[in-house]
């Protein structure tokens, strides 16, 4: 599997990271190095092996679906780059 410039551009967009056009060839080359390394996994026989979901044999804990925390919007907003009247502020999303 070889990654071309178009794929690199698409992946950067999916990851929501702006990559300047002139950086894309180098990025594609780095992806190819890493993916070439990962390709070794194809040598392994994984027939009848279940993908690991939990490294220790534990069942994720359940709890009642109730509110256990909250009620301090000023703390939640205290680190926001832009917060106004109790809300996070972002550029206009809907016209």
């Amino acid at each position: 599997m070889s990654i071309d410039i178009e794929t690199a551009r698409k992946v950067a967009h999916l990851a929501r990271i702006r990559v300047e056009e002139d950086r894309l060839p180098a990025l594609a080359a780095e992806f190819n190095d890493i993916l070439g390394f990962i390709e070794q996994l194809n040598e392994v026989n994984v027939d009848d092996i279940e993908p690991m979901t939990s490294v220790t044999p534990m069942r994720l804990k359940r709890r009642e679906d109730v509110v256990t925390d909250g009620g301090y919007p000023e703390k939640v907003l205290s680190n926001a780059p832009d917060a106004r009247v109790g809300f996070f502020a972002v550029p206009k999303v809907v016209e």
């Binding site: 992946v11 220790t56 680190n79």
Partner: protein
């Protein structure tokens, strides 16, 4: 008392309880060392006021006869831990200015036990790196020096390793996703422990790869690791993967008696082209454990070779998901927008400006391996290989193996900048001996065991059974006593 900052936790505990020193004296001594050690780049946010307040409270507690083993012990805290009101930014520009409104469970446990926070420690950005060269704060530097070169302290917990080795603090917290406690510990001649996955709460630790991340102690002795693990660990309802199992007194397990213990020697860890010094150290370690009465057996962990490639699918995949939250909305950096730019541009510019090159690379690799059409070929295949890697260990333990001895790293510390031109995969090879342990969720320790020909420290790794940190620590204690590693870096900073 002189040389207060050189004390182990155990020695400081004794001096404090006898009244030979105070927590304030210990703390002031560390703060003075930190002030004089900016050349190491270890402490990136210093918190002297908090430290002195905590030290005074610790002295009162000691006086009242209510001290724990950690009361009054000055620590450095890796920047990955959220500490209330104190900058916590995972060495990333994207969390510039972030001051949490909450305290991580681990730091809460330590401070609740009376420990003192001297400040926050340098690291690789989001714990992604093996040399501490991806930090927004600049490099942390190894206190060990054998020529004109500045050496890496390893990574990602490079600041923690540098600070402990240079006696800026008595011990430090680290985190380990693929070797980030054990490799820097080996590079700096200190002891580092990655506990069993689930032993220590991950709550409030900035996430990298959630199925692999685990916090642990970085200390000057095995005993100190036992003491500090006891204070860090414990069931936490806020972390759904935190194990609800009884707490042990890890220190009480340190008898040094390992007679009859079975130590596995995995043949796959003998790499082609491995430096002769690493092989020699490994042989010496085997002899030390055999002399102490352990029985050595050869074992096979056939899927070892595939651990790094599996890791470089799973860890970036989880990172791409975890790091999606850094979007310029809730905390940290937000890019300035030009006219006509909207929310997509805000996300893309914010993340391009805030994340460094290695983090961007891993987020994008993770995005790719999780994308439609490749999920099965990469991500699911890697999770199947991970199951096989764990099965290798399970089979070794089923044969009666109590612990596994390997080298900690494939080399001693290298020079900062020396890997700059190498492709990313070359840097990843640093974790070849440690990454299997994270994939299998096991406890692992790095114990300093010798010096190379140039005089740089080398470490051996011991891998234990799940939840058997007490037994692992005892084996490490026997190895530590036999190795008798006492070298310290000569002060140049």
């Amino acid at each position: 008392m002189s040389d207060l900052t050189k004390l182990t936790i155990a020695a400081a505990r004794e001096a404090l309880s006898k009244g030979e020193t105070t927590a304030v004296e210990l703390t002031e001594a560390c703060l003075a060392e930190i002030e004089a050690a900016d050349a190491l780049g270890a402490f990136v946010h210093k918190t002297p006021e908090i430290a002195l307040d905590q030290a005074k409270a610790a002295d009162a507690r000691i006086k009242a006869g209510e001290a724990t083993a950690m009361t009054g012990i000055p620590l450095g805290i890796k920047d990955l831990f959220c500490t209330m009101g104190v900058a916590s930014q995972a060495a990333s520009g994207i969390l510039d200015g972030f001051k949490p409104e909450y305290e991580s469970t681990v730091t809460q446990n330590l401070f609740g036990a009376g420990a003192v926070m001297l400040g926050k420690l340098n690291m690789d950005e989001f714990a992604m790196g093996s040399s501490n060269e991806t930090s927004v704060y600049g490099n942390a530097v190894n206190p060990w020096k054998v020529d004109e070169r500045a050496l890496t302290p390893g990574g990602s917990s490079g600041g923690s390793a540098s600070a402990v080795a240079a006696d800026l603090c008595l011990a430090a917290t680290g985190t380990d996703t693929g070797g980030s406690i054990r490799q820097p510990a080996a590079f700096t001649g200190i002891t580092g422990l990655k506990p069993t996955y689930g032993r220590v709460s991950r709550w409030g630790i900035i996430a990298f790869a959630s199925s692999l991340d685990q916090a642990g102690p970085m200390t000057k002795s095995v005993r100190d690791s036992a003491i500090m693990l006891g204070a860090m660990a414990g069931h936490d309802p806020k972390d759904s993967t935190s194990a609800n199992i009884p707490e042990l007194d890890f220190e009480a397990a340190l008898t040094g008696d390992i007679r009859g213990k079975v130590i596995g020697i995995p043949r796959e860890y003998r790499l082609d082209g491995m430096p002769a010094e690493i092989e020699k150290l490994w042989d010496e370690g085997k002899a030390m454990l055999a002399d102490a009465g352990a029985k050595l057996i050869d074992i096979t962990l056939p899927h070892t070779k595939y651990a790094l490639p599996a890791y470089y699918v799973i860890a970036p995949a989880e990172a791409s998901s975890n790091l999606a939250r850094y979007d310029g909305v809730r905390y940290g950096h937000r890019a300035r927008l030009g006219s006509g730019e909207g929310i997509t541009e805000m996300y893309e510019k914010t993340r391009a400006e805030g994340f460094g090159a290695e983090v961007q690379r891993r987020v994008m690799v993770g995005t790719y391996v999780l994308s439609a059409g490749f999920y099965d070929a990469y991500y699911n295949r890697a999770r199947k290989v991970r199951a096989l890697i764990k099965r290798d260990f399970d089979e070794a333990f089923d044969q009666g193996v109590d612990a596994i001895l390997t080298p900690a790293t494939p080399s001693a510390a290298f020079g900062l900048g020396e890997m700059a031109e190498a492709d990313p995969v070359q840097m990843y090879l640093n974790d070849v001996f440690t990454v299997t342990v994270n994939l299998a969720g096991l406890p692992g320790m790095s114990v300093p065991a010798g010096l190379d020909a140039k005089g740089l420290p080398l470490g051996l790794q011991l891998i234990g059974k799940p939840w058997e940190e007490a037994d692992l620590l005892n084996t490490a204690y026997a190895l530590e006593r036999a190795a008798g590693f006492v070298s310290k870096p000569a002060k140049w900073w």
